[in-house]
């Protein structure tokens, strides 16, 4: 009985990590499509979203099956509920990656804006957050997960700076409004991805320590 449960849980972890890998890849490609102006990668992201959607459904089904069959308790139950939430978050991240890819297609077709935008850094931090939150899930590392939550502020700051720069540009140069708007939306999406990565990290903390850290600032940030 427990042998079966452990096996099913291991397979479930495989599935959610595999899905995480796909989502990471989608985010990575969307970023490169935007920064390196590669429409081919953007189209790949849009095309492969279906696979991620399917794998979301599969993970969900697997979770419900385990819940119904084994009625797990304590750590196992927390694991499954966390996986269900992480699954949902990952799927939304993939959707955001698709949105960024669509913006990227428009950005690629226009002349580049010569503005001091920090998409490279923003996306690097965000992808690192996503990666670390999944790594935290792999190794049940609550410390790493808490660390991910702390990094969200940097992404927010960059996003705000993008707003300032791009809105000013739209005022001064109405011709570039389309591109600027696409970039602005992309920046928002990236910021949103970072938020979802934070959610995943919070779920990992809950899974490992049975402590809910959502909606409370971390003690360290309260001091600031």
């Amino acid at each position: 009985m427990t042998g079966h449960l452990q096996r099913d849980l291991a397979l479930l972890k495989d599935r959610i990590l595999g899905m995480g890998g796909r989502v990471e890849e989608a985010v990575d490609r969307a970023h490169r499509a935007l920064v390196e102006r590669r429409p081919d990668l953007a189209r790949k992201v849009i095309a492969e979203d279906r696979v991620i959607d399917e794998s979301e459904l599969a993970v969900d089904e697997e979770c419900l099956k385990i819940l119904a069959l084994h009625q797990p308790v304590a750590g196992d139950l927390r694991f499954i509920t966390s996986v269900m939430k992480i699954n949902n978050d990952l799927e939304r991240i993939a959707d955001l990656a698709v949105n960024i890819a669509e913006r990227a297609l428009e950005v690629c077709s226009a002349a580049p804006l010569d503005e001091p935008l920090r998409f490279e850094a923003m996306s690097a931090i965000t992808r690192r957050m996503l990666r670390d939150s999944l790594d935290a899930l792999v190794s049940s590392n609550a410390g790493l997960a808490r660390d991910v939550c702390r990094r969200d502020d940097e992404v927010d700051a960059i996003n705000r700076s993008h707003f300032v720069v791009l809105i000013k540009r739209m005022h001064e140069d109405p011709d570039s409004t389309d591109v600027a708007l696409s970039l602005l939306t992309s920046s928002l999406h990236i910021e949103r991805i970072a938020d979802l990565a934070t959610n995943i990290a919070e779920d990992v903390v809950f899974m490992v320590e049975a402590v809910v850290i959502r909606h409370h600032g971390l003690p360290e940030t309260v001091e600031n």
Binding site: K13, L17, G21, E25, R127, V138
Partner: protein, 651 residues
């Protein structure tokens, strides 16, 4: 705590151990033997004793009766009594009684006959020759009686009765029995002591063997049993020692093999990763971990998805486990500088039953291959473009001249002049390409002549002086007080320095100045060429050494650059074991630095003969036969190359 537990185990060992079993066994054997023997022997002894006593009684009766017969026959009672009393003194424990035929007691050894009752009805008297046991009221103890008739001439005179106390007989038997018991007790004691001693002598080597086997089992491979006996235990110990030798030898061989294999795996550039049928990671070498950007603490026992989430690898694992076929995929791992491109080959491994046992992944890093492919593609495209551009314009001018015979002379001369410029340009590109090809081919096979860097700098400055003056650029040389000695190929180095110098002059504004500085420190010999031109942006500084790479394409071509000069510099310097670097900021000018390994100090004086030759740049190529003999095929071309390599832009 440990003392108490040790005592407990000791007790347990004794209680359940070999010694205890032998002890109890011996005890039981001795006890049973003793009891049985005692009973058997006691009974036998009692019977024997009885028989011998009866015999003695019979003998006594015979002897005594013959002695008493006469006195009895004569009827002399007094004499009879005297005889009997006399005998009684010799016969200690036996009692003699003489009874008349009518039953009256005539004489007795122990009693006064007058006080004794008639004995006619006593069974022994009635049945002479039989033994009777009965309680004697006279003596108040259990007695055995035997009687013989006293006869004389066929007439029965009376009876002689011999009696013996049964107690005496019983005491004898009891004595024997108790002696037997004492002996048995002693035997038991000695036997038990011996049993314990023997048991311990057997048990100790057994315990040693047990300890030894346990120790070897826990990895004390150096341990052996000391063989103290030559019995079965000794040979068991010997056999165990031999077995351990063999096992340890085998284990060491296996360990050596394993460590050798893991060393091979660790040394491989290719990543090797193996997962079992359940997708647990069985093996992952360092290369695999670093290629996949994986957490190095994970491999071994963890699942594949925990090691890497790359969808391509997870899919390969699944499909390979499912189909059992080899499969290949290419994946990009995100990371700094555009990440890596990996080629992953998954191969199934089946066990003896043909079931899928493992999937082995081999990861090749294709990043460099892909980059080189791109460089080559770009190069071919660039060469074609660079060659085609002047050709196109030349053809245009030539066609114009050919098509229009009535063209004014000035226009025709102008057009033909353009064509001539074009051929010169093509010539310089081809010359640079040849130079580059030659340097790349000679990479590492440059001459190692002793040279002074200052002389090379001087030669190049002299060669470019005219061009500089024409562009109103001031050329300034800064030499250290002590000449800097290096070893290298003079012609190649002059070409390299010359290329830097012509570039610097070309990009300097009118009235600017170019500094050429030679120096030496512990890291090597340096020559730096600085200009106050437009400078090079940071992100382009890495690429300017690539072939045909130009920061500003139009301007560069207008200035007559082939796009190959810096590439030649880089190849020459690398071929000399040095390095070239650029330090620049937009609008602040650029400084190119060449670092070369210094010649050993004691050779500092050696190039004295070459130095004067270097003074005159024009003659340096031709005047040194040794140089050309080793460096190039033809004299004239060599000298030409030396000049054109430096002045392609000037022509």
């Amino acid at each position: 705590m440990t003392g108490a537990s040790r005592l407990l185990t000791r007790i347990e060992r004794i209680a359940l151990g070999f010694t205890w079993k032998v002890f109890v066994g011996t005890l039981l054997v001795v006890l049973v033997t003793t009891v049985l023997l005692e009973r058997q022997v006691g009974t036998m002894l009692a019977e024997r004793r009885m028989a011998s006593i009866q015999q003695r009684i019979v003998d006594d009766a015979m002897v005594t009766s013959s002695a008493l017969r006469d006195a009895m026959a004569s009827g002399d009672v007094a004499r009879l009594r005297e005889l009997v009393r006399g005998m009684g003194e010799h016969l200690e424990d036996r009692r003699l009684t003489v009874i008349a035929a009518d039953g009256k007691v005539l004489a007795d050894t122990h009693e006064d006959p007058a006080l004794m009752e008639r004995h006619a009805d006593r069974p022994e008297i009635k049945a002479p020759g039989t033994f009777q046991e009965r309680y004697s009221t006279t003596l108040s103890r259990e007695m055995m009686y035997y009687a013989v008739p006293l006869e004389s001439g066929g007439r029965k005179l009376g009876s002689l009765r011999v009696a013996l106390s049964m107690d005496d007989i019983g005491r004898d038997v009891d004595d024997v029995r108790s002696a037997f018991r004492t002996g048995a007790l002693m035997a038991l004691g000695v036997g038990l002591v011996l049993a314990v001693v023997f048991a311990r002598r057997i048990a100790r080597p057994l315990r040693d063997i047990t300890d030894f086997v346990a120790a070897v089992g826990q990895g004390e491979y150096g341990r052996r049993i000391a063989i103290t006996t030559h019995d079965e235990l000794g040979s068991l110990a010997g056999a165990l020692n031999d077995m351990t030798d063999q096992l340890v030898g085998r284990a060491l061989r296996i360990a050596a093999e394993v460590s050798q294999k893991s060393a091979i795996l660790a040394a491989m550039d290719e990543g090797v990763l193996a997962v079992d049928a359940e997708e647990h990671v069985v093996l992952a070498n360092d290369a695999a971990v670093s290629l996949l950007n994986a957490d190095p603490s994970i491999p071994g026992g963890r699942r594949l998805a925990e090691l890497t989430r790359a969808p391509e690898i997870l899919e390969l694992a699944e499909s390979c486990l499912h189909d059992g076929r080899r499969a290949q995929a290419e994946l990009s791992v995100p990371g700094p500088r555009g990440g890596r491109i990996l080629q992953v080959t998954a191969g199934p491994v089946r066990d003896d039953d043909g079931e899928m046992a493992m999937v082995v992944f081999v990861l090749h890093d294709l990043t460099e291959v892909r980059r080189l492919e791109k460089v080559r593609r770009d190069f071919v495209a660039n060469v074609s473009h660079e060659l085609k551009t002047p050709l196109t314009s030349m053809r245009g001018f030539l066609e114009a001249v050919v098509d229009d015979p009535d063209m004014p002379k000035e226009t025709r001369v102008k057009f033909l002049d353009k064509v001539s410029q074009g051929t010169a340009r093509l010539g310089s590109i081809v010359a640079d390409l040849l130079e580059l090809a030659r340097i790349e081919a000679e990479q590492g096979r440059f001459l190692r002549e002793p040279l002074f860097l200052d002389d090379l700098a001087m030669a190049c400055v002299a060669r470019n002086q005219a061009e500089a003056e024409m562009r109103r650029v001031r050329l300034v040389r800064h030499d250290p007080p002590v000449p800097v000695a290096v070893r290298g190929d003079e012609r190649a180095l002059v070409t390299a320095i010359n290329n830097l110098l012509t570039n610097a002059i070309k990009y300097s504004p009118e009235g600017g100045h170019v500094d050429v500085r030679t120096s030496a420190d512990e890291r090597g010999a340096w020559i730096a060429v600085s200009d106050d031109g437009p400078g090079i942006a940071k992100h382009e500084q890495e690429r300017i050494f690539e072939r045909f790479y130009r920061v500003d394409k139009d301007r560069s071509r207008a200035l007559g650059g082939t796009g190959l000069g810096l590439s030649i510099v880089k190849n020459v310097v690398l071929g000399h074991g040095g390095e070239v670097s650029v330090e620049s900021e937009l609008g602040r000018g650029s400084t190119f630095r060449i670092r070369l390994p210094r010649a050993p100090r004691d050779e500092g004086e050696a190039p004295g003969g070459v130095a004067p030759a270097g003074d005159d740049a024009g003659s340096s190529g031709g005047s040194e036969p040794g140089d050309d003999g080793a460096g190039g095929g033809s004299d004239s071309r060599g000298a030409d190359d030396g000049a054109s390599g430096g002045h392609p832009e000037a022509s």
